[in-house]
Symmetry: D2
Subunit: 320 residues, 4 copies
């Protein structure tokens, strides 16, 4: 960590900061520049609140040097983590495709969707039993009934499933049925939920928040690994920007940045991000080309009806 | 709602969309433009998922006409809502100032802070007992112990307090002690939490999400009002943008937009947004000038030490 | 265009708006909803300033129905435009790679870079003679000397080149030497520059602005086509967002959106956007998979030194 | 400047970087941390392209310590700069109001607007003779005719005027008539334009770019001061964000940040930023409370018609 002092900071102010750092267990290395002094602080700042330092007189800014995450980092483990979702390995050499309807509406709808996506090449089923609708007037999900339907469809098709838990109190129930628990974008920093879900030991599909930096996303994953569960699959699903032609801006460079910094597998959602089924195929291809370990696709009944040609050709096209 | 058809949409496609709208209970009014056809749809679309329509062949886009919220809207209630927090009215003619430490660390620290902010003119104490730290390695909060300290300080000073509930399971405990429950920015769309907190009947301080649109913010408030609790105080605390000179970008126009569209009181947090105590005073003044009903200020112990001059002059300066 | 009236707008206000629309040459179609009235306006609004309408009493908002661009639109020309840059076709079936140093520093440096990128498979050379440095203290470019070097290198290698014009007064000079003129991101809405560059008839490489919507980008291209020059190549180079792990956020969905709406060719800059040469290869692959017609890569001398392996394998890898 | 080496960087890589720094004229101070090494570099990096260093093997990132601007900085001149616009001092104790129509359409319209804004308390007239319309189909401005009208109105009313120059070739003409030259948001990084306009010696009204950081904005001002013209007035006019309820997000904290870092005067445009005349008054008040030295308001003829009450009360209200 580097503490940058303001120009004109007094010797006394510099010493006060150094003393505070030493109290906190750091070794200090001041460098006296032409106009500013900076203090290098070496030590383990896990528990540090930089706010304790930023407001000291004379301090201009604090520059972190170490990344705040450890367990997810390649610096700790340089071999890729392979998460087994049901029997399906995520993060190894193959491409994993997870698909299914956004919300489970009925068993017929779910079974039809599952058969269609399986024929298209998907290995994992997705479907929402608990929906985080943004309006109190919209469908909340079938809840336990939905989980039972997903389980019955799993028996029929052999496809493991991932489904979202939106609240800590639902986690035990979801964990009872699901092969993997999804943490939605709006819950990425719901730390209690991350801990509860992590504690089940189940694979966790962690969606990046709408406006989460990659660092915050990896810190959310760190939270889960820190509670003893190494089975985290990251999912890039677009970030919020000024552009309105797409619902969100799919940040494929984030896939490459994650691969560079972390050993965790990372998949991409090309459907919820773009908001338009005509953009799903090019973005799915681009995600695979960028190095993603898989895709998760919302195959709502309407989308299913309008995707051109035999489904299998679509999925196979992804792997080109 | 207006459905815009693509140029070259066939008569058949237009009819299919009209039929679907009629099935959903809308009255339809097609307008045949020179290059495109649009269909006006009149009806109550509360339960509509526009996704059901957007993927129909020939549909280019759907333009909502009605605002999605009703209960929070001035169109329903054009007189300002005054929320009573402890005995303190928020939303009336006066300016309410809520201040206190970000986290409750000890009773001495809390008592000292409370006395200082009270002397400075604050009417409501804030303090975190449950902290949503973004790192598993940081302090999580004193939890029930912290709530008890806040209650004891309330007795001593007469100041009601607002504190954050981060998880649905903590809501009953927090409601037992607190005069108002804060929903943090990262939980603004944690709908289960909004419902639980709303169900207590306590005043809810609803912070705008980091990247929430004003509409999403008002819809979150709608969620709470819809569960029967009218006592919502909105809080603008800055949004995430590309600018890095401040931690977030304080969006004071949002105060004016909210005032225009909703009867709910709205306060501003000039401290967490800017991230720098040197910007707190100008932003606090600007917030008041923009029409905010109050301010909520993080008065961490360090900030307290470095705010210049007698505290009371700061608060009184805000009301200039 | 749809004019949405506020709830409670009076009959008189609605009539005033209708009259104004008729004066402007529109046909009007009012639809009386349960709570709001909307007025469909059919006509050619090319010259309309919506500001003339938005401030009329009772008007809540104006919703555009027609896209503001015509010449660049697929609705006008549904076959892909192929721009010939030197002899190189951009927009047809192949993939075009443009590469070279950010700034031309010397003839040796330029020749070495040109040979290296040519060996790697690039067909077009890029190099800056006029640099829009963001600091008055940085190198401004070799200007005409730089153009001459680019021309000599073209003779030697057979590679046509694209170079940036930063000011209207330099356009004639640049057009004298260059095969194509680049309009930089910061100049995307420098309309005088677009007109001057367009008027040369040379192919124009139009970089998307840092915070330009896709619509604004296409409107900038419209400006050029409107001055009679159909030879526009769009270039996605990343947009400004809150994420700091990359210099800009490469918006590959924009490639697909452009392809859907326009007949113009679109290439991607995976180097300036990411700001890190380790991300260039994955992003280049992703761009090609997303449907880009080509790539433009900053091959500064340092990058050249550190790209692994024979250059040709890198470029060929892009086409995988 | 601090160069942060990657964990595991070899001694050889560290030495290579140090040698390069010494070649560039820096003094180096390595600090060997537990996991990473950082190198403090002391020297004058005015001409440095950090790209020369960032790509060296082993380098993780470069952290700037010194601000890149000098002439605009309070560190150079700690007393406020007062720019005289016509006879009107901007940056001193008073509040300056500049108002007028967005585009000069006719002399009657301009004279009426000038009289109205003068009666309302404005001291400076604004009006566009050269308009940077974003569409080739919209009105481009009356150009020299418009400048003449502004000059005649100045004679009549005594109000000096500011008007935009959109192209380097128009600068001499604009400078002939105008009291101050405005650089529009989309031209903030048009460095040739900044230089030409700066070279006239006239006061320059520099609007912040749509997505310009405060640092980039101050560097644009630095460009002008570096060409010998100290008369720069900064203008905050809103930045581009995800929020769509306002045209741009007015960043009033930027006013305070500028005041903290620079001696230049800064005014605010509450009209173009919000895009809605109902938000102009609260934002104007907030801007003044935030410490702005003035306001610039688009008083188009329609807005003029619909602003409530006697104009003078509006302006005086701003000063409350």
């Amino acid at each position: 960590m580097i503490i940058v002092m303001k120009p004109g900071a007094t010797r006394e102010q510099i010493e006060t900061v150094s003393e505070r750092l030493v109290e906190m267990g750091f070794k200090t290395h001041p460098i006296y520049g032409q106009e500013k002094t900076v203090i290098g602080a070496i030590g383990d700042k896990k528990a540090l609140s930089s706010e304790a330092l930023i407001n000291l007189p004379g301090v201009e800014k604090i520059v972190p040097i170490m990344k705040p995450y450890k367990l997810v980092s390649r610096e700790l483990k340089d071999t890729p983590t392979i998460v087994r979702l049901g029997g399906v390995p995520v993060g190894g050499r193959g491409l994993v495709v997870m698909a299914g309807p956004c919300a489970v509406e009925s068993e017929e709808q779910l079974m039809a969707a599952a058969r269609a996506v399986k024929a298209a090449g998907a290995q994992v089923l997705r479907g929402g039993a608990f929906k985080p609708r943004t309006s109190p007037y919209a469908f909340q999900g079938l809840e336990e009934e939905g989980l039972k339907m997903l389980a019955r469809v799993r028996e029929e098709t052999g496809m493991p499933f991932v489904t979202e838990a939106v609240d800590t109190r639902d986690v035990p129930l979801v964990a009872e049925y699901a092969d993997a628990i999804q943490i939605g974008a709006r819950n990425m920093q719901n730390f209690r939920l991350l801990q509860e879900a992590g504690a089940t030991g189940k694979p966790i599909l962690l969606k990046r928040g709408l406006a989460a930096t990659i660092e915050e996303w990896l810190m959310a994953a760190e939270y889960i690994l820190d509670s003893g569960n190494p089975n985290v699959i990251l999912c890039e699903r677009g970030i919020r920007t000024f552009e309105t032609a797409t619902r969100f801006t799919l940040d494929l460079a984030a896939v490459a940045v994650v691969k560079e910094n972390s050993h965790l597998p990372v998949i991409v959602d090309p459907s919820h991000s773009t908001g338009s089924w005509r953009l799903v195929l090019p973005m799915a291809r681009a995600a695979v080309a960028a190095g993603a370990d898989g895709l998760i696709i919302d195959r709502s009944s309407t989308v299913l009806r309008h995707m051109p040609g035999p489904r299998s050709s679509n999925i196979k096209a992804f792997r080109a």
